[in-house]
Subunit: 214 residues, 2 copies
DNA sequence: CAGGCGATAGGTATTTCTACGTAATGCGTA
DNA sequence: TACGCATTACGTAGAAATACCTATCGCCTG
């Protein structure tokens, strides 16, 4: 009988070791690979075709959310569990949109990760009680974007772009990270500056920050 | 024969599990406790008197560096190994000042943590090669310039330039306003970015603002 | 079903910034 | 006085951003 093949993606060796150790409790589970960044994670997914993937959110090169999105676009039935440092509403709702099957916060116990793996392998979704609170908040209308002072509204993608701009990334770097063309990034950038009414990226970052549009 | 008693402090259960698993390779080592925040870590240290303590930097309540400082003030021979997410010069030099015996970055392999524990138990200090680079930087006399961010000093003119950059002016506009050549503005800009250690204007504005250099 | 909108991407041209040099001038101080 | 330092400036290149436009595709909604 075949073992369940699991891929772990996390840039921190300690975490990988922890997850590995937890999974080894169950003899039916087999860790077939470890990825240390997002790009590698995608590569490994395609090479190894694991039954389940445990994915850290914050990783170099390409972050976990983008990895999940990228993989789930072509393989909507892929079983992905997100492992995150924080219990962040935005991350959680984004992950849900993309179709991940589980979300576990690193501060939670190993038992919870184990349960998550079991649940997801059965074909269900797993979200810990802490995470569920965020989900509830999201669906109770409470997480509606707080009314901004101005009537400027940025799309999700635009917010993402602004954040990357404010981190000092160039268009090409953003393009690589988001798997889109640098020209598309330019378009977003231009739209943003027009929307906000500024004439360069520096003013854009300042204004968006000041208006709390993120 | 008594086993070596080790205390682990980290708010993330996954990490604790990983470290535990790594340490279990050596039958002489025994994890006698786990702390999930800084306050608890100090309490556990006093209660359990472990032979060695593995301490995460970022923890709720009291961060790892404060814990180390607090413990080492009263017990300068306490054996503490810092486990950190990042290879940050500031953290490292501060930890060294306080007297910690080892510093391991979480992205490093389990072998390195194991070696760190062995080395520190022998009474020596352990710093991985990556960390050593930071230490060298600090002691190579170059430290005044780079070791601590807060030591960066901007000249009056540079401050002026940064402010104008953050207003979104181009080099030419700044030049016109200051009655100097655009090339001069470029020189200032380049010097600023080199000084602050960033690669473009957006990061410059953000960093300068964040460090309160204006 | 049509129309709006968001995300995607390209064309062309111009402006701006960044990287690496070098170097003159003036001002304070060891 | 001689030296460091801040300020000024230029050369050459190449990378990146900005300005305008057009255009497709998919999704949701009236």
């Amino acid at each position: 009988m075949c073992k369940v093949e699991i891929l772990i993606a996390d840039d921190h060796a300690m975490i990988r070791q922890g997850v590995r150790s937890l999974l080894s409790r169950n003899s039916q589970w087999n860790v077939v690979g470890e990825s240390v960044n997002g790009r590698e994670a995608i590569q490994h997914f395609h090479d190894l075709r694991p039954d389940l993937m445990i994915l850290d959110i914050s990783m170099p090169e390409v972050n976990g959310m983008e990895v999940a999105k990228h993989i789930l676009t072509g393989n909507s039935d892929a079983k992905i569990i997100i492992l995150s440092m924080y219990n962040d509403d935005d991350y959680i709702s984004k992950c849900l949109e993309h179709g991940v099957r589980g979300y576990v916060v690193k501060s939670e116990t190993g038992d919870q990760l184990e349960e998550a793996v079991q649940t997801v392998l059965r074909g269900d979704c797993y979200f810990s009680s802490e995470v569920q609170k965020s989900i509830l908040k999201h669906y109770s209308g409470n997480s509606r974007k707080k009314a901004t002072d101005s009537d400027i509204r940025l799309t999700a993608r635009e917010v993402e772009i602004v954040q990357l701009i404010s981190e000092g990334l160039t268009n090409q770097e953003m393009a690589d990270r988001l798997f889109i063309s640098a020209r598309t990034v330019e378009t977003h950038r231009a739209n943003l500056m027009k929307k906000v009414g500024v004439k360069n990226a520096i003013e854009l970052v300042k204004k968006v920050d000041q208006l709390g549009l993120i």
